[in-house]
């Protein structure tokens, strides 16, 4: 039997989508890193299509985009934790999150996954999480939100 161990992280990137699961993963990250005092970086990516230049003045003026990170900072403050908030514009959310995690030398990437199904009932995982699972150099934790009652 391999010896059970609790991994210790130095720096964790939390990918925030603006969904209801964001609060839960910020709390989880704060709880997990409470004793190791790991650095926490919350990243929210605003995806731009090719009709706009990458440095277009979109995310900075978007109250919704800013609010995603502000809410995470609020949770951290309530839990007496520290969190750096980073707002990113990119063409692809998954690539931007993985690149940000790699650039910051993170050893953990935490992502939230809403429980959604496609037409026909097949579970939809989206594109960003499979990309991160395949390409992220660090550990990746995916936290799926509970199924709604109608899904049970």
């Amino acid at each position: 039997m391999p010896e059970a161990y609790t991994p210790v992280f130095r720096r964790a990137v939390i990918a925030l989508s603006g969904g209801p699961i964001d609060n839960a993963i910020v709390r989880l990250a704060l709880e997990v890193t409470r004793h190791s005092h790991a650095e926490l970086i919350a990243v929210h990516v605003v995806e731009l299509d090719w009709t706009q230049p990458l440095d277009a003045d979109v995310a900075e003026r978007s109250e919704d985009a800013q609010r995603v990170l502000d809410a995470a900072e609020g949770v951290a403050e309530l839990m007496h934790g520290k969190l750096e908030a980073v707002l990113v514009q990119a063409r692809d959310v998954g690539a931007a999150i993985v690149d940000e995690a790699a650039a910051r030398d993170a050893d953990l990437l935490i992502m939230g996954l809403p429980y959604r199904t496609r037409f026909g009932g097949e579970f939809a995982i989206g594109r960003a999480i499979p990309y991160a699972l395949k390409n992220a150099p660090c550990a990746v934790w995916v936290v799926r939100e509970p199924m709604g009652e109608e899904s049970l």
Partner: protein
């Protein structure tokens, strides 16, 4: 974007991303629907001195708390009990003395009646506590007797209750600090000459503790209260055991015992003893005033805490009176041992436990004023919300405490200490008069409350409250009659004066609200009055040009006014102005008496008078160019005339005063904005002069 950034390359070819600035994040947080919440950085001082002051404040009073942290500052029952009950529970330490002091006037034999008097007071305590328990539940926003009287008897009765309570809270602080010092002075005679200063110091320390927030002050003050309760209950239990086992024997008369009198034992004497012992009830109302300070469910927790307090107070009071009776304790003069001291000495035999009992009694008497520091500011805040007190009283300070109420209470109590030379004998007649007024009003209010509500059991509840109102009303009359000549008359002057002040404040706020009120649903029309700008200029310089540019954005009716006492300089200014700003008229006001402000104001008067009477007066914008000082000494050198002018013009009809600040680092921008040639020459000629 505030600062365009070059895209960062990703791990794969073609992956790029841009990290976006979040300029608001240091100061604000978006909370949805166009709402921004200010962070600590946005609420703190920006100047160097301000930051230093904030650091010192933070060290003394603790770090500022947010509104969201208010729930964390709420009190649990075990913390609320000492905070709101130290006054009430401490009164059990001397209430029996007050009864015995009256009964002894009829002779030693009649002192056995003390237990019946104490029982009657305990019955009154039960009724009052029952009533306030209902108040907690019925009026969970706090306010106690004030709110009950306001809602059921009318706003003016509410003000009577509020004024009476406030006077009593001030007196509690003054009396408790004075009596604590009187106790200390018996042990350390050297402090007697400094009683006032030391009393003030005690009040300042308790104020500082309360400004740190209710929870922290509770932590500080909880131990003495619980210590006293524990020691007093232990003394009672040991005394009862001794009584049951026949070990309790009558003591010899204590030193400084009150001499037995030969008065007839009449109903009046009994009533006086009852009124004397009723001081035990002071402070009972504090919990009902502070319901919102409790953890949820606030009303339930407050009501339960009130019952615990009443049970403890009643038990200690009756217990000490009963045990004291078994040991034959007697009332003494101020120099002699108290009933509590005699009981403690009898049951503990003067050892360690006796010393602990005395220390705990001294400490709780010392800190009885803390109840006022919690109840008074809350009452003042509710009154301020009702526009009966200045609105500052409703503002919470950095630590969520009602700082204004705390500081004002401390200041008035210190003033009382100075006025009465910290003499307990002089202060005590003013004490506990007001509280019976508010007991009476709250009970009377509850009678009407039950009658209006007609809920289950309303009839017997209103009967109990009606009986309580009569009882406390009688006690008020007896207390007021007994203490009137000794100083209670002052309370009966203070209370109406306070009521008059509150009525005045309420009238002022109502009057201003009427004047400011907009008709509901009315659309704001476009402005239709003529605007004109007058710029008082100290010369022609960049600050003047900046003011001129602002003026041009307001209207085309602009004139500059130069008040001068120097003809040569005037010509130079006029010439330069004509060259630099030919489209704006310059009015020169020569001032042979060298005054600067008055001739300018007179010019504005003349402008107003020349306006046709049949049309609405224009709005005159007075734009005052100001040089922004960068240091304290620059503040002395510049803008003195501008400050005077601003002060003079504030409140002037049809006039808007605007400061146009000119900063040195704006020199380049101003120079380019100014269409004067050559700008450098102008600045060199007049820079800063005359500001």
């Amino acid at each position: 974007m505030t600062a365009p950034r070059s895209p960062l390359h990703g791990r794969k070819l073609g992956d790029r991303r841009v990290v976006v600035d979040r300029p608001h994040a240091a100061y604000f947080r978006y909370a949805g629907d166009g709402t921004m919440v200010a962070k600590a950085a946005a609420s703190g001082p920006t100047s160097v001195v301000g930051k230093r002051v904030a650091r010192v404040r933070s060290f003394i009073f603790g770090k500022p708390l947010t509104n969201a942290q208010e729930i964390g500052e709420r009190l649990s029952k075990k913390l609320a009990l000492p905070i709101f009950s130290s006054d009430a529970i401490s009164s059990s330490a001397y209430a029996t003395d007050e009864i015995l002091r009256v009964l002894v006037l009829a002779g030693i034999a009649w002192m056995t009646w003390s237990i019946w008097v104490a029982a009657a007071i305990a019955l009154m305590l039960t009724i009052v506590a029952f009533s306030y328990r209902q108040v907690c539940r019925g009026y969970p926003s706090g306010g106690g007797a004030y709110v009950v009287a306001r809602e059921n008897l009318g706003p003016n009765f509410g003000l009577v209750a509020a004024a009476a309570l406030m006077v009593d809270y001030v007196m509690t602080v003054a009396v408790s600090s004075a009596s604590a010092l009187a106790n200390l002075a018996t042990a350390f005679e050297g402090i007697a000459p400094y009683k006032v200063e030391l009393g003030a110091l005690i009040i300042v320390l308790v104020t500082a503790a309360n400004l740190r927030g209710i929870r922290e002050s509770g932590n500080i003050f909880a131990i003495p209260t619980y210590m006293f309760v524990g020691m007093a209950l232990l003394a009672i239990v040991v005394g009862l055991v001794n009584t049951a086992t026949g070990a309790a024997h009558h003591l010899a008369a204590p030193p400084f015992a009150e001499q037995p009198g030969v008065q007839a034992f009449t109903i009046l004497l009994l009533l006086k003893a009852f009124a004397g012992g009723s001081v035990a009830l002071t402070g009972v109302e504090a919990i009902a005033n502070g319901v919102p300070a409790f953890k949820p469910p606030e009303a339930k927790n407050a009501a339960n805490t009130l019952i615990i307090m009443a049970v403890l107070l009643g038990t200690i009071f009756i217990g000490l009176t009963f045990v004291g009776l078994q040991y034959g304790v007697q009332a003494t003069t101020a120099q002699g041992p108290t009933v509590l001291g005699q009981v403690g000495s009898a049951v503990f035999g003067g050892g360690f436990l006796f010393i602990m009992l005395q220390i705990s009694a001294a400490l709780i008497l010392f800190l009885a004023c803390n109840t006022s520091f919690n109840a008074f500011p809350r009452l003042a805040a509710i009154l301020a919300q009702d526009d009966c007190m200045p609105r500052q009283f409703a503002f919470r300070g950095d630590r969520l405490a009602f700082s204004w109420g705390i500081v004002v209470l401390a200041a008035v109590a210190i003033a009382m200490l100075y006025a009465f030379n910290a003499s307990v004998d002089a202060l005590i007649p003013l004490y506990s008069v007001g509280v019976f007024i508010c007991f009476t009003l709250s009970q009377a209010g509850m009678v009407i409350h039950w009658r209006k509500e007609r809920s289950s059991g309303w009839a017997w509840r209103s009967l109990v409250n009606g009986f309580g109102a009569i009882l406390t009303g009688v006690v008020f009359l007896v207390v007021a009659y007994e203490k009137f000549g000794n100083g209670a008359w002052m309370v009966l002057i203070f209370i109406p004066t306070l009521i008059a002040m509150m009525v005045f404040v309420r009238h002022q706020y109502a009057s201003s609200a009427r004047q400011l009120e907009m008709r509901p649903g009315s659309a704001v029309p476009q402005p239709h009055r003529h605007n004109r700008v007058v710029i008082p200029i100290p010369g022609v310089n960049r600050a003047t040009v900046q003011a001129l540019n602002v003026a041009r954005s307001i209207t085309t009716d602009i004139r500059a006014v130069y008040v001068s006492d120097d003809a040569e300089k005037t010509d130079a200014v006029r010439e330069r102005w004509a060259n630099a700003v030919p489209d704006v008229p310059l009015v020169v006001v020569e001032s042979p008496y060298r005054a600067l402000i008055a001739p300018f104001v007179a010019y504005l008067d003349v402008l107003d008078r020349t306006w046709p009477n049949d049309s609405e007066k224009p709005i005159t914008f007075v734009l005052i160019p100001e040089y922004v000082a960068r240091s304290w000494w620059e503040r002395i050198l510049y803008n003195q005339a501008a400050k005077q002018l601003r002060a003079t013009l504030l409140g002037r009809a049809h006039t808007v005063v605007i400061n146009i600040p000119y900063r040195r680092d704006e020199s380049r921008a101003a120079a380019s904005a100014a269409e004067v040639e050559p700008a450098g020459t102008l600045v060199a000629a007049d820079n800063g002069r005359g500001h």
